[in-house]
Symmetry: C2
Subunit: 245 residues, 2 copies
Amino acid sequence: MRPEELPEIRHLHLFRDMGQANFESLMASSYAQNFPQGLEMIRQGDPADFLHIVLEGSVELFAQWSNRECTMAVVRPVATFILAACIRDAPYLMSARTLERTRIILVPASDLRAMFRRDSEFAVSVINELAASYRSVVRNAKTLKLRNSRERVASYLLRQSLLAGGAASYILPVEKRLLASYLGMTPENLSRTLRTLESDGVKLDGPRVIITNREKLTALAQPDRLIDGPDDIADASGSALPKIS
Amino acid sequence: MRPEELPEIRHLHLFRDMGQANFESLMASSYAQNFPQGLEMIRQGDPADFLHIVLEGSVELFAQWSNRECTMAVVRPVATFILAACIRDAPYLMSARTLERTRIILVPASDLRAMFRRDSEFAVSVINELAASYRSVVRNAKTLKLRNSRERVASYLLRQSLLAGGAASYILPVEKRLLASYLGMTPENLSRTLRTLESDGVKLDGPRVIITNREKLTALAQPDRLIDGPDDIADASGSALPKIS
DNA sequence: CGAGCGGTTGAGGCATGTCAAGAGTTGTGG
DNA sequence: CCACAACTCTTGACATGCCTCAACCGCTCG
């Protein structure tokens, strides 16, 4: 692990408040690894041996069942993932693959579990992290059950605009094929939906999103803080299952 | 609060390991309340002031958006709910209403937050509870995205059979209308789906489920431990968002 | 250059929602 | 105790949202 990487990790909400010696101890037993693009580094069902921290690149979390698969989230630097599985010492519920060349820190789950019993500040951080992650997935389930695909697309586009500082134009952070899976639809259907949304205030030029009528798009998406955030955590990178970004 | 209720609460994983004095202190600031059937005791968006513990009756957790609503979970005794919102000191993401006459213990959220900073055993319990709850919602999201409605119904019926000790016949624990909403479909569609499932090894006689061909039903449902459990927590009543039951 | 991949578009089909009506049950108030 | 209202559940007819299959385009990269 490079020395300049430690402060980046330390800055995460999860590690911010723990004792310095304890942080160093945790890092001492961890190690970095670089993965090429498209590598499946976690397979669902495997035992959770390591907490993962993304330092560079990006990782797709996805789930499989009966020869189907769907994207659950995309994790970008600097953030952790599969914290809950490590804590429960249980099998991963999701698989993970790199979307590009990605650098990961691996923290042994057993050290993690020992640490929050030793460092009560760290325990509080873990509690806050898990509670925020839980709420994030609940929001996700709500959007799946309460909105149809058209509304999900509209609110996603609007939310990304807000994350881009309210910009009227921005670049989609993920491929459309992946976005479709994340939003619970097929690529074909997403493509068609985006076409029809042109009459509702948003236009796409390849990966570029151009909001032409924010009021109209907002009326369709009906953004709701109990679904679309803002996230509980100020620094969203701390979430174990953040919205796709 | 009745004295005979304290051991029931103490028995929950969440409260099992904390110091006795701390448990008593937490309970001293809590109070019981009885609600009639159909009362909406929590409205989504309200500040989370109390952790709720169901002692008798049952509670439906549901979400609303744009004049639509859907059931997210049903909580039965003895179990807690909306732990995450209390910890984050954030607005409820879900509403709650009683399905029958229900007795609830209300634990002030501020006391709760103070307590896990004071009692490190309790902090560990909260961590385990939240991690289990998180994984429960992830399972839920997986079944929504990976299975179609027919498969969701089949796996639900099969899972309930297992919860009933593998019984070939049992009574549905909830109304079909509510079950439909929980499974993300309309009551009409559930009714029709149940009819068509008669050729796949399960028959319904009113609220009674009769499994006539377990192999066939299993082949359709393809139960998966990474979706359908078993739950991480041995005592599933400890989960903050358990499967409908 | 050509294979592979992401994206788009069209045609068609299936799954699911919507609307309506009726049977059965429950709960309530006269 | 009965009558009525309200509700669940079911069934049918119909509409539509979404998926599947197929073809094609444009781009990237070996």
